[in-house]
């Protein structure tokens, strides 16, 4: 087995017959051409390069870890980047108080297994202190920004890794891999720094910090293929299971303390799984029988709806919901 395919496929001159002339100097099929890398290999190496670059250039990095699939993949990549050493930074979780208990349990197990320090910022603390107020719609997802910025400030983090992917949302599609944030954690989409070749510029002034997104170029399907390839463990809610749910806003919501059905919302037991592990109060489940990674891959590949479209109520608030949150300092 190899981390690249063993089959040496050169683009034969046939393939270029379609009028697509090959630039001067391209000689194919040269004797000992090394094996080529698949797109997933390239994405993985790109992510490792970015993670190492950030650790080298910043003094106090940290990684956002929620127990969701993207952050689990991120953490896995971090273990690879420094092997056989230990991951050289702490992880941060913003606890909304609306998390799925099994995801929190998974988070704690993982952090323990890897011997990492976990920094938790709690939305509840900020509500108790009066700095934040509960929203009318009951979701707490948009409230995560304040505890996140507080955790960054209190720990003097100068770089924060996130598992955001550009295919998730049209505002994320615009963000740099290293995204500079001002003293208020804000993103200025109209004035981003150039990002050239694979040379990442980590310079910043006091008070600024950087969000680093090593898996920017991965798609949902890449994440799942990678999970299959490497055998990464995820919280169980990503696979089909029986759950008590009720229908709201065209999604299946789990029944839980922070997610109670109204009288006119009958509770059913359904076979479901989650495509994202956000808050119970704003994340919907999809009906599914996909109980293994291979089945999930088949399901995602055939899906006609995006993961956020299928599962996130918070993104339906307005056309630019994600952009507005990011401008305020969100992930």
């Amino acid at each position: 087995m190899s981390i690249y395919t063993t089959e040496d496929t050169t683009l034969a001159s046939d393939d270029t017959r379609a009028g697509a002339k090959v630039s001067a100097g391209a000689a194919f099929g040269a004797a000992a051409a090394p094996p080529r890398m698949t797109s997933l290999d390239v994405l993985e190496s790109e992510a490792l390069h970015i993670i190492r670059e950030v650790v080298a250039e910043f003094e106090r990095p940290a990684l956002l870890f929620s127990g969701g699939k993207d952050s689990v993949v991120m953490l896995h990549l971090a273990t690879k980047a420094f092997w056989p050493g230990k991951v050289p930074f702490p992880v941060v979780h913003v606890d909304t108080g609306h998390n799925f208990p099994e995801v929190i349990a998974f988070r704690d197990r993982t952090v323990e297994r890897l011997g990492l320090r976990l920094v938790v910022g709690r939305v509840q603390d900020h509500i108790d202190s009066g700095e934040l107020a509960e929203r009318a719609d009951g979701t707490r997802n948009p409230l995560q920004t304040a505890p996140l910025l507080e955790a960054i400030r209190a720990n003097r983090f100068d770089a924060v890794f996130g598992g955001a992917r550009r295919d998730e949302d049209k505002a994320r599609a615009k963000e740099r891999i290293l995204s500079l944030r001002d003293d208020f954690g804000q993103w200025d989409p109209r004035n981003q720094r150039p990002e050239l070749w694979n040379l990442y510029n980590g310079r910043h002034t006091v008070g600024q910090h950087v969000r680093a997104f090593p898996i920017s170029n991965w798609t949902e399907l890449d994440i799942w293929r990678y999970i299959e390839r490497v055998g990464i463990e995820l919280p169980g809610l990503y696979y089909a299971h029986q759950r008590e749910v009720y229908a709201r806003d065209g999604m299946w919501r789990a029944v839980g303390d922070v997610s109670l059905p109204r009288a006119d919302e009958p509770v059913l037991t359904k076979m479901v799984r989650y495509r994202t592990a956000g808050d119970m109060s704003c994340t919907g489940a999809v009906e599914s029988t996909a109980a293994t990674v291979a089945e999930v891959i088949r399901e995602v590949a055939a899906s006609t709806i995006t993961e956020r479209g299928a599962t996130r109520a918070d993104d339906r608030i307005s056309e630019a919901a994600m952009e507005d949150r990011k401008k305020d300092g969100y992930f």
Partner: protein, 494 residues
């Protein structure tokens, strides 16, 4: 863990080792291909990208629905405002005839300000795959003010599609972008003559523009530029060849993008091995817990195995490296032999660009972040004097005598811009005398470095010939830098 120096026959991959390895890679997916758009404002770049995504079924129902809603809210009627009468407004961009017209540009113009102004401000990255390839698509802005963002999108591209409005021909901004692409040596430049529907699918108009393009690209030294007539709005020659341009016998744009070799494919095996050291991995006591805990009975794994572990982490910038290869470390010039290549717990025998690995060497030599490991005997001496071209990306102008930072590979050094020796004139493509550079200028400079860097001419080694010019005060990027051929080192000493 035992360290293996055994080599495998070429093409045979790593030996499984450690806990991760067994399941590493089962399925294979296609290769990765990155392409970007360029061209003047409103020439239809975003519409083209939307069209490609739409027609290759990469748009999912909820995205389509939200774009349809946004199009309706903005009163989109399927053409550009003020387009000539007689152009077919009902040419259904991706909807049933008579259904809601959608503005395909909204699939990438995702920022609030972009939608309000109907222009692209910054690069949008989108993804789609065919059986053979995974594509990363960078939709770049055309507006001159945002050239820095277009340079960003083009710098990593395997190919760039330059759009030209069939009614307007080659504009100043088209020329600027072509200069940038030439400067960056983007491996493939494809020119799409767009809005062919607005000139009645005229072969004459297309041929005239194609001739002009060929003239311009020949003057610039861009090789093998392909020119395709398209309508991004109605989809002609984007994915499939169109019957409405029967006079055009070449491939569709997507067929071209499928067939062009990527940079990695072009360069693999051809370029000498180059490896900027990012980090020294020397865990000593700080081992990953599962390694620290493993019992040492077999002598394989366990804390003892890694007590003296020392490896150099980085990403291959070019070429390949195998266990047993002789390498030289720069700038020190010391040599050693590769005794092991680790990929996260898997001991592999060969690594190839752009893989991220850790190298173990036979000798204990002083190597730190910022050093470059290269195939032995392939490198000219590091230098403190750079002759370079700059693409100036900052509103703050460059004056002779400016103190800047240069980031090259994994090293950042202080530098002085000693002289500006010329700047490119977009009309003649000739260098004119200049004493400074302003936003979007391309010019030549002489730079003195505080310490020597192992640079190579960009024309021959993209990775070791590229650098960033950074503002020492605020950390902003001032310019993209490309090392020129030094007078005197015409010999490639491989």
């Amino acid at each position: 863990m035992t360290i293996s120096t055994q080599t495998f026959a070429s093409g045979v991959g790593p030996r499984p080792h450690g806990s991760l390895a067994e399941r590493e890679v089962r399925e294979r997916v296609g290769t990765l291909f990155r392409f970007a758009t360029a061209g003047s404002v409103d020439d239809g770049k975003s519409t083209l990208v939307g069209r490609l995504l739409h027609d290759s079924k990469a748009i999912l129902a909820d995205q389509l629905e939200s774009v349809t809603r946004a199009s309706a809210a903005r009163g989109f009627n399927g053409g550009e405002p003020g387009s000539e009468p007689g152009s077919e407004p009902g040419s259904e961009p991706g909807g049933e005839p008579g259904g809601q017209q959608i503005d395909l540009a909204l699939l990438t113009d995702g920022l609030r300000a972009e939608r309000e102004q109907g222009i692209t401000i910054d690069v949008a990255y989108r993804y789609f795959a065919t059986d053979q390839r995974s594509f990363i698509l960078a939709d770049c802005p055309g507006h001159v003010q945002y050239t820095k963002n277009t340079v960003t999108g083009a710098s990593t591209a395997d190919a760039v599609v330059v759009l030209i409005d069939a009614r307007k021909g080659v504009l100043e901004q088209t020329r600027r972008h072509l200069c940038v692409l030439r400067l960056l040596r983007v491996p493939h430049v494809v020119v799409a003559v767009n809005k062919i529907d607005l000139v009645g699918y005229s072969a004459e108009v297309f041929t005239a523009i194609a001739d002009e393009v060929r003239k311009v690209s020949a003057r610039l030294g861009l090789a093998d530029v392909l020119v395709v007539p398209i309508s991004a709005l109605s989809g002609d020659n984007v994915v499939d060849r169109s019957a409405r341009t029967s006079w055009y016998t070449g491939p569709s744009l997507l067929q071209i993008l499928q067939a062009l070799p990527s940079t990695d494919e072009l360069e693999r095996g051809q370029e000498p091995f180059r490896f900027p050291v990012q980090l020294v991995i020397r865990p000593q006591g700080a081992l990953a817990p599962e390694l620290a805990a493993e019992p040492a009975e077999t002598g394989d794994g366990g804390p003892d195995t890694f007590r003296d572990y020392r490896a150099y982490a980085g990403q291959l910038a070019s070429g390949s490296v195998a266990v047993g290869d002789r390498v030289t470390v720069l700038p020190s010039g010391l040599s050693s032999t590769v005794v092991g290549i680790d990929f996260a717990g898997t001991d592999i025998s060969v690594a190839v660009a752009p893989q991220s690995v850790s190298l173990r060497l036979a000798d204990e030599i002083d190597i730190a972040r910022g050093d470059l490991i290269a195939a032995a005997g392939t490198f000219v001496a590091p230098t403190q004097d750079l002759h370079a071209e700059l693409c100036w990306l900052s509103p703050k102008p460059l004056c002779e005598g400016a103190k800047v930072l240069i980031k090259h590979g994994s090293r950042t050094v202080t530098a002085l811009v000693r002289a500006v020796t010329g700047k490119l004139d977009l009309a003649s493509f000739q260098e004119q005398a200049a004493s400074g550079l302003e936003l979007n200028d391309i010019g030549s400079v002489q730079i003195r470095l505080a310490s020597a860097l192992p640079v190579e001419p960009y024309a021959r080694h993209r990775r070791t010939g590229a650098f960033l010019v950074i503002d020492p005060l605020y950390g902003n990027i001032l310019a993209a830098g490309l090392v020129k051929d030094h007078p005197g080192d015409h010999e490639d000493e491989r």
